[in-house]
Symmetry: C2
Subunit: 344 residues, 2 copies
Amino acid sequence: MVKKTSMKDIAQDVGVSIALVSYVLNNQKENRISKEVAIKIREAARRLNYQPNQIAKSLKTNKTYTLGLIVADISNPFSSSLARIIENEADKFNYTVLFGSSDENPQRLQKLIDTLLNRQVDGLIIAAPEGSEAQLTALQQRIPFVLIDRYFPNLSTNYVALDNYKSIYTGVQHLVDSGYRRIGLISFATDLFHVSERKRGYRAALKDNQITISKAWINELGQATYTGEMAKSIQELLSGKQPVNAILFASNALALHGLKQLNALGVSVPDDVAVLSFDEAEAYDLFHTPVTCIRQPLADMGQMATRLLIDIIQKNNRTTQVNLDAELIIRASTRPVQTLATAD
Amino acid sequence: MVKKTSMKDIAQDVGVSIALVSYVLNNQKENRISKEVAIKIREAARRLNYQPNQIAKSLKTNKTYTLGLIVADISNPFSSSLARIIENEADKFNYTVLFGSSDENPQRLQKLIDTLLNRQVDGLIIAAPEGSEAQLTALQQRIPFVLIDRYFPNLSTNYVALDNYKSIYTGVQHLVDSGYRRIGLISFATDLFHVSERKRGYRAALKDNQITISKAWINELGQATYTGEMAKSIQELLSGKQPVNAILFASNALALHGLKQLNALGVSVPDDVAVLSFDEAEAYDLFHTPVTCIRQPLADMGQMATRLLIDIIQKNNRTTQVNLDAELIIRASTRPVQTLATAD
């Protein structure tokens, strides 16, 4: 490893004082330094590959132009797509992004927050796990942050999220309009507000259509165990007293595993059961039937959260809360009932 | 925004000197400080939520415990899975990971390198884009780094990569053993060494089986334009003078779009054409036929690269080059020819 070039090296190379090198490279006292010397110093800095020490600079400006991003799991396509959008948007404003995965675990979130704050990030974008209200409340005294995707209705924080209630309501209404009235929900067992809102929207849409919900229609799987529970859940929905003719998956991870199990069980979509997915994944394109889904405005979400955070870092103290609308993408997996081979 | 707690605040709170606070919080001169006072100082630090300034610390130790990771595109599942593995492995050694996407562009790579070096990362893990030899050569004088997934045979750098030649050779041999002798290759038009190695392995395996390769069998698509070119490429492979009965996709992105197009064109796998994919993606599970693939040892790759980098940062100067073996996962998309409905 070659030693880093210092201002001293440049000073020795050009034959001037270190102070003079510092003035030129920091654009100070320009009127008092001859252009010729300044050019020599800059040329030597380039030739010797001089890199200013950003950490020393940061101590003076108190800004590092670094944002921290805490997602649930960077290997989930929702998280990684969002990370890429945030990265691109931050780059436009010359910010670099540091990231970490919380694994939906408040302790791991706290560890990441501490690490990122120790690295002196200017602000955080956080997809908050369940049970992290205390951490977030404490964080409000320490650094600007914007919640993304999830938020807590009782916490007055900046956030950019989806109107989950409305999005699900619209999706369920589409199913009812297509002739499906026995609609199962496969979701996660969690108190996370955005997931509860999805259940609330599902219930409200059915109720408003005078459909009595059977208890057996709502299946809430464990966040750590859902892949193992999926097959049983689907079989129960399809074979109960009131078997469903449509299934709504409350997230892309659930839909992905649900579609795999429907394949494995030899269930035909939409002839045996219609499928509606919250979120989408590129993977769905490989399923035999194009899957109707509730598409989140990912680009808007990531860009707005990034700009909002930079805005807060740079100047304002307002609390901004954004609720975005989803888009319902209607495909063959929810074909109207009367067009199905098995119409009943 | 509340002001950050300083050592001065703690000193005033406890009623001692700032020097004494500094000694206690930095575990210095322990024998000379009363336990009672030390406890009071630590208690005040906790109560006032004191956070040590890691940047100031870094100036002294010259270590930031931060690694930079440059992938091609964090939203590609290969990259995001690798990022997650590296993140987990780095965390075991108390390193945080900063990441960026190069978009397969050497200029963007250079910008990311400069940004990460300015943030004083201790080392870099890089999936290097085509044409970045000059940047990497210059980088060797500046900071420890490990190439991952891709490397340049003419550069003497640390790397952890796959033996691409051998992996493809094994896959093609499996196709031949299953009765397929007209095998098309869909790859990228690039001089990247790891992609060239895949083509070389494909050619060698066919040659060693006395199969004469038709020029029309090798389709190299543009890295930025392949999604638009895929349908035409597949149709040409299936309809030429010597139509293929098996297609080898040289990456998961190519296979993903290839499988979509096979669906759209109504081509049945493996009855009309067998499919072998380099890399795999969770998405394949939704394809009607389970897809045979060459599985890269992602966990090994990410963990070895991380440990190697930390090892180099901490003590040694050796150049280490690791070539890993892939695993061939045989599924129904390459069923032996004699079992097919359309056996010929």
